[in-house]
């Protein structure tokens, strides 16, 4: 009897210890991840603005000045304009890129044509090279098309490159049973009807994921806009912030924090679609 009690007590302390250690590790990890973010937020509230006036690691005085100047002082650094530019480029690339990616993935998943395997392999290999490898070539092509210093030039590049990462979407389409397509075709649907009425509604989570990735890349990209955009008023946020003066660090931090907001909002709006798989109940698993 007594022995059993001792055993139970021992098991209890062991459990508590386990939980304690787990939490400690989690806190440390969370701190490591969260600290740079926290530091950036603190830096954005720095009153002096320059990184050189920090007391060691942290700012000395805090205030909202940097946020205020970010939106009011638009003569040299037109942050609101940059923000709108980025929003325009990212939204357009998101729409076009998503359409192209989904179509590519659907095509690769559902149709069997000559050189399909070869194309799949080629895109996979090409996708392994970092995108900035081709920047010079892209620049030359864009000059030929007279698309330098234009937002549409960027949008075209982003949209055209998005389908290179079609593999994830293809994998998803592969899981939608062929028999649904076949049943629809027998019912009288054309390939296009099958795609629009059956595949797309069932692929909602994938659509959301694709749109999010297609949005975030142009939103935070630096190299391409830096190379293709010349006028200060056409800058995206990333390029614009980079052009800030050395003493404007607080403003830089404030700008960086501010561009994170749309992504966060977008994510929270769309997250519920990503979680629910739609294909439940279609076929017997």
């Amino acid at each position: 009897m007594n022995q059993a009690k001792v055993k139970v007590a021992k098991a209890k302390t062991k459990k508590v210890l386990n939980v304690l250690i787990t939490y400690c590790i989690l806190i440390v990890v969370a701190f490591i991840f969260f600290f740079p973010c926290l530091w950036l937020i603190l830096a954005s509230f720095s009153k002096s603005g320059s990184i050189y006036s920090f007391d060691g690691f942290f700012p000395v005085e805090y205030g909202f000045d940097s946020f205020k100047t970010l939106f009011t002082d638009t003569v040299m650094y037109n942050y609101p304009q940059w923000f709108l530019n980025t929003l325009f480029i990212a939204s357009m690339s998101c729409i076009l890129g998503t359409i192209l990616t989904i179509l590519t993935a659907y095509c690769m998943s559902r149709f069997r044509f000559k050189s399909r395997k070869a194309m799949m392999k080629t895109t996979l290999v090409l996708g392994m090279f970092p995108s900035f490898m081709g920047t010079i070539a892209v620049y030359l092509i864009m000059t030929q098309f007279n698309l330098i210093n234009q937002h549409w030039g960027l949008i075209l590049i982003y949209s055209a490159q998005a389908p290179m990462g079609y593999m994830v979407q293809k994998g998803f389409f592969d899981t939608i049973p062929y028999s649904i397509d076949e049943a629809a075709r027998i019912d009288g649907a054309s390939n296009f009807t099958v795609f629009v009425k059956f595949t797309l509604p069932m692929a909602k989570p994938m659509l959301v994921y694709t749109a999010l990735t297609a949005f975030t890349w142009p939103w935070s990209d630096f190299i391409l806009p830096k190379m293709l955009l010349v006028d200060r008023d056409l800058y995206t946020v990333a390029v614009g912030l980079m052009s800030l003066g050395e003493t404007e660090f607080a403003r830089f931090a404030a700008g960086s924090i501010f561009i994170a907001i749309p992504i966060i909002v977008l994510y929270f709006c769309l997250v519920k679609y990503m979680i629910n798989g739609m294909a439940a109940g279609a076929v017997k698993e």
Binding site: S179, A189, M202
Partner: protein, 666 residues
């Protein structure tokens, strides 16, 4: 509401694998056809080719009177039920069922907003195509839902339903359009056993109600036997047998069908057959068992298996072996069985044993035996008892080909014959041999094909019985007290024979007989198929045609069969099928074998050059044997021919085989 015709259907994958081989079948209206076979046998592929989901490599598929080979599935007016239901998950049940209707248009006349017909200038109604309206849709969907008992679920989504209900929805989706043909691809294999039995009878009920042609694919022979009006048994892409469930069970054409149909599986033993006067001794291998049965029970057995040297498979169904004492006492064919164990199934008991006294009765060996016995009877393990064989239920198969050696439609009559002075003595008759059958005097074995017996000769015979077997009439004749089988098409000679009042005069088609000595052919039958190798070519020739009232020179493509340097123009029906079977351009790069019967050739001034070798005179008909290059062909002719002749075959009667893939195209 349509019949189907499948002619020489092949499915060959790009890697050369043949999924379906030369599938031929006529499916009548309102039939319930079941394709059955182990997985990978090509049954689903065939069904999907009918549906249009899979391309047909070669062959001709007709639904109703229309060739549908290249047609889209939606235009074939078929419906299909899938194994995994394939419901549209994001749609309600109503929408699932209604979708097929929404996609279709129906003929109507033009109406104004009030619904009154709009007339054209001449006061006639204007025909238009329109979609179903809401009331029509609701009515049709509700009707289908009522038939299947799913009316209360119409607002639900598929994931809120159980497996059986989902399959009902899938059926509803198929029947709502009232298709010409219903295709069902293993629709019940995802359901549990009880539901499966229930749905099985519901599908049969549905078939009765809809009066539509059903084609049903399953791997479950019980489903096949209980549902089909006819069953197609397939294996490795080949059709093994097509027949009614009853005939499949009673007359399996090969060992595969015999073993596949029926539970428990048929018992297969190995043994030899020895004919001894009017009785046949059956000796079982790896066992001491021996039985002797009267020859009259094994009449149809091919005689080359009756000399005791060839091992054959001997099959008995479990119910054709009895352990009951009264049956054993009454039987003349008894074997000893050592019982190993038994399975009590309620109404019956399956007794496992071995006819080899050292066998254990568990492994599937050539001596293991399963016996169906009455229910609740207990059998002691390891006891040896006598079992009675029902010889009427014997099935015999060749050990290598596994084909039945006592086919329902025997191919040959076997008889001893004597040739002397150009006369053939058989069946107590002496028949003059035509000069083409050139045989020295002596005693021989005669193989008389059952279709070589004609009904216009002068040998008196008596009809003992006739049997209609799948459109062929098997006539058992008695000539001078000897039994003779004759086979003829029911339609051709059927009437003539039935009115003959038992007495009839028969003749023998001498070009079909085989005369053998010591298992070597002395006289071979004249081949009825002449094969010639060749290619297919196109030539564009200028032609004058009238375009817009003016004469114009245009180039028109002509297609030719090229054989031994001779071009034979192909009519449209021939080259269209060639193109369909070879995916267009490959048609010109492939080698073919063109086949004609000896009756399809005409002798003409130009044509294929042939060297006449020999004239064969069969009395009523004369043929010449010629050589074309290295090929030998036979040609029917009335003239006396010699030397070099030019032959023109009738291109419209050609049958074509693509040499590389061995596909019969025509």
């Amino acid at each position: 509401m349509a019949n189907l015709s499948l002619k020489h259907i092949y499915k060959v994958y790009p890697n050369g694998a043949k999924a379906v081989n030369d599938f031929n079948m006529q499916i009548e209206d309102k039939e319930f056809i079941v394709f059955v076979g182990p997985s990978g046998c090509g049954k689903s592929t065939t069904l999907r080719m009918i549906a249009g989901l899979e391309e047909i490599t070669a062959g001709e598929l007709k639904i109703g009177d229309m060739v549908v080979n290249g047609m889209e599935p939606k235009d074939r007016d078929i419906a299909m039920v899938f194994q995994n239901y394939a419901l549209y998950p994001h749609m309600t049940i109503f929408e699932n069922i209604a979708f097929g209707l929404r996609m279709r248009k129906i003929p109507d006349i033009k109406r104004d907003k009030a619904g009154n017909p709009v007339l054209d200038k001449n006061g006639k109604e204007i025909p238009v195509m329109r979609h179903y309206n809401k009331q029509e849709l609701t009515a049709k969907v509700t009707e289908a839902a009522e038939i299947l008992g799913i009316t209360e679920y119409l607002k639900r989504k598929p994931k809120e339903m159980s497996g059986g209900q989902r399959q009902r929805v899938a059926l509803g989706r198929a029947i709502v359009r009232r298709p010409k043909v219903m295709l069902l691809d293993e629709p019940l294999s995802n359901l549990d056993a009880k539901l499966r039995t229930q749905m099985r009878s519901e599908i049969v009920k549905l078939h009765k109600k809809l009066q539509t042609t059903f084609i049903y694919v399953t791997h479950d022979q019980v489903e096949a036997m209980t549902m089909g009006t006819r069953i197609v048994v397939m294996k490795d892409g080949f059709v093994k047998q097509i027949d009614t469930p009853k005939n499949l069970y009673r007359y399996p054409a090969n060992k595969f069908v015999a073993g596949f149909i029926g539970t428990p599986q048929m018992n297969f033993f190995q043994g030899t057959l020895t004919k001894d006067g009017d009785s046949v001794h059956i000796a079982f291998k790896r066992s001491d068992a021996k039985v002797t049965v009267p020859y009259s029970m094994l009449m149809k057995t091919m005689p080359q298996y009756l000399d005791g040297t060839k091992t054959v498979y001997i099959g008995f169904r479990a119910e054709d072996i009895a352990l009951e004492e009264d049956k054993v006492a009454a039987s003349n064919a008894k074997i000893k069985v050592r019982i190993s164990h038994s399975e009590e199934l309620g109404t019956e008991t399956l007794v496992y044993g071995d006819i080899n006294m050292d066998g254990d009765g568990f492994d599937e060996t050539s001596t293991r035996v399963i016996i169906k016995s009455a229910g609740f009877k207990e059998y002691q393990s390891d006891t040896v008892c006598e079992a009675a064989l029902n010889i009427e239920g014997i099935h015999l198969f060749d050990i290598d080909t596994e084909e039945s050696i006592m086919p329902r439609l025997p191919e040959y009559n076997y008889a001893d014959c004597k040739v002397s002075a150009g006369k053939l003595a058989i069946l107590g008759q002496s028949i003059a041999l035509p000069s083409a059958v050139n045989c020295s005097d002596g005693e021989y074995d005669l193989l008389l094909p059952t279709d070589a017996v004609t009904f216009d000769g002068d040998i008196p015979a008596e009809i003992t019985s006739t049997e209609d077997i799948n459109g062929k009439l098997l006539i058992t004749l008695s000539v001078n007290g000897k039994k003779l089988f004759a086979v003829t098409d029911c339609s051709a000679d059927g009437e003539k024979i039935s009115v003959a009042d038992g007495k009839i005069k028969i003749g023998i088609d001498m070009k079909k007989i085989i005369i053998r000595k010591n298992s070597e052919d002395v006289i071979s039958p004249m081949p009825l198929v002449n094969g010639l190798n060749g290619t297919f070519v196109m030539e564009k020739l200028p032609e004058m045609t009238v375009v817009n009232g003016k004469e114009k020179k245009v180039k028109k493509a002509h297609y030719y069969l090229l054989i031994d340097g001779t071009k034979l123009e192909a009519p449209a029906e021939v080259y269209n099928k060639l193109f369909a079977a070879t995916s267009d351009r490959k048609a010109f790069n492939s080698a073919y074998r063109y086949e004609w019967t000896p009756y399809d050739f005409a002798v003409s001034g130009d044509g294929i050059r042939a060297q006449v070798e020999e004239t064969l005179d069969y009395g009523a008909e004369k043929f010449v044997r010629c050589t074309v290059g290295e090929e030998v062909i036979y040609v029917k002719t009335d003239k006396r021919l010699s030397g070099t002749v030019h032959l023109v075959p009738d291109v419209s009667k050609v049958s074509i085989i693509e040499s590389e893939r061995q596909i019969r195209i025509l």
